[in-house]
Symmetry: D2
Subunit: 140 residues, 4 copies
């Protein structure tokens, strides 16, 4: 298992007239969680696309909305990979408000696509090498 926490503050333009963070904007926060998880591993999703020619389209998304998030809240986005990626990778996300209450939980499953051929490929070594130690430890 590998988990990483990052933060994002709710922008005015991300709220709706209900005064809540709009439900569609959580997907952006999940993206921030994934991208910063990659960075925490010493790699970037940007380099994955540009240098390694792998892009990661989203296959599925699920979210539960537990409590509203409000304008200017500094949210904590906890992103976890629970299982070694194979053909796809699933990121689990939990978002907490400043009172450490869970406001949203969900997951995103993504594929790996070779941008040169347009074909799906297995999780690339560049990614697996960065995280495998976190999963080896568990199986000991």
């Amino acid at each position: 298992m590998y988990s990483f926490d990052t933060h994002a503050r709710v922008r005015y333009g991300e709220t709706d007239q209900m005064g809540y963070l709009y439900y569609g904007n959580y997907a952006l926060y999940y993206e921030v969680g994934r991208v910063e998880l990659f960075r925490s591993l010493g790699m970037t999703y940007k380099a994955l696309e540009e240098e390694h020619h792998i892009m990661m389209p989203v296959l599925s998304l699920q979210q539960r909305f537990v409590r509203p998030a409000f304008y200017d809240d500094l949210l904590t986005i906890r992103t976890t990979i629970r299982k070694m990626p194979e053909k796809t990778v699933t990121f689990h996300h939990e978002i907490f408000n400043e009172q450490k209450k869970l406001i949203n939980g969900g997951s995103v499953r993504l594929a790996f696509v070779d941008t040169d051929t347009g074909k799906t490929v297995p999780a690339p070594p560049i990614f697996l090498d960065k995280i495998k130690s976190w999963f080896e430890e568990e199986s000991k």
Copy 2:
């Protein structure tokens, strides 16, 4: 069952550098589907909030991304209520491209909240009255 089709064209600002409609923007399309389903019934979500003091926060969202949608695609959003709403209502969505291929399918479950008290309430009569005939027919 009650189902309604509406349309939305993919905006440049809704694409991402992969050249796809960004996965987070499908939630906006689901919203358009729900809102136009309400309008097709002779009511509006706006009036529900303003006149009937009912708001509908989202409880959960799930989506499968089957094919990409591209810039300027004129998408068909099919929104269906499969089951008479009670404490909550679930909208099922299917999005088709101009070739009538399914690109995305999913569902959104929403609650009903009295904006004066902030408490959840059952599906309001104003809404149930508009759709009940579609469900009575089926049970005959």
Copy 3:
């Protein structure tokens, strides 16, 4: 002069907690205005990019916010080219609400860039040919 009117309905996710269409989302409406102006001329911006290898990055934007737009308002976006494009093109936009009141006015200036070379180029003949009759008439 060439002018075209199109329509867009304000989405819930485009409002903010002030209950207004968020100021940053007007740029999307300006985009819709430009794109539908192109379509009204018998061409598409999509084809300009894909077939003619011309992209149009924005050089400048200015907007005045006259009245708020609200959720579910069906807005009219009037887009006008006042002057024959040369090195750049300026689109003027006026947005009206359902009471035909002006809510926003502004303009966007865009360049033409050859996507193969990355260099700016003059307005392409494919575009000029479509609009020149509208400007010839005026100079008579």
Copy 4:
């Protein structure tokens, strides 16, 4: 004059298929600049709305797009108040990329509205008191 620098990283969902930060999303970055300038003064825009019942609708926006911003760029947003606010306040924004090159410059003018009466009011003392020392120094 009072100036404050803050940072924001370009999200995937904020890019468009040109591979650039979409032009409409700069308004969100300007908002981040304003909000963090307020926070740097020891106040928050959130409290201005909630506790002091002042909201600040945007009157006008202008932007020049000098260079593109790309996915994952860590941008610096420099926000400056050049002139003591009176009936309105103008924020000047400059956005720099990681190479310290200017990518965008512009300004936003906002009004002050009493949320109880819906009427415009002059810049509130809570705000003026926080910044006046920065302007007194200059006039010495």
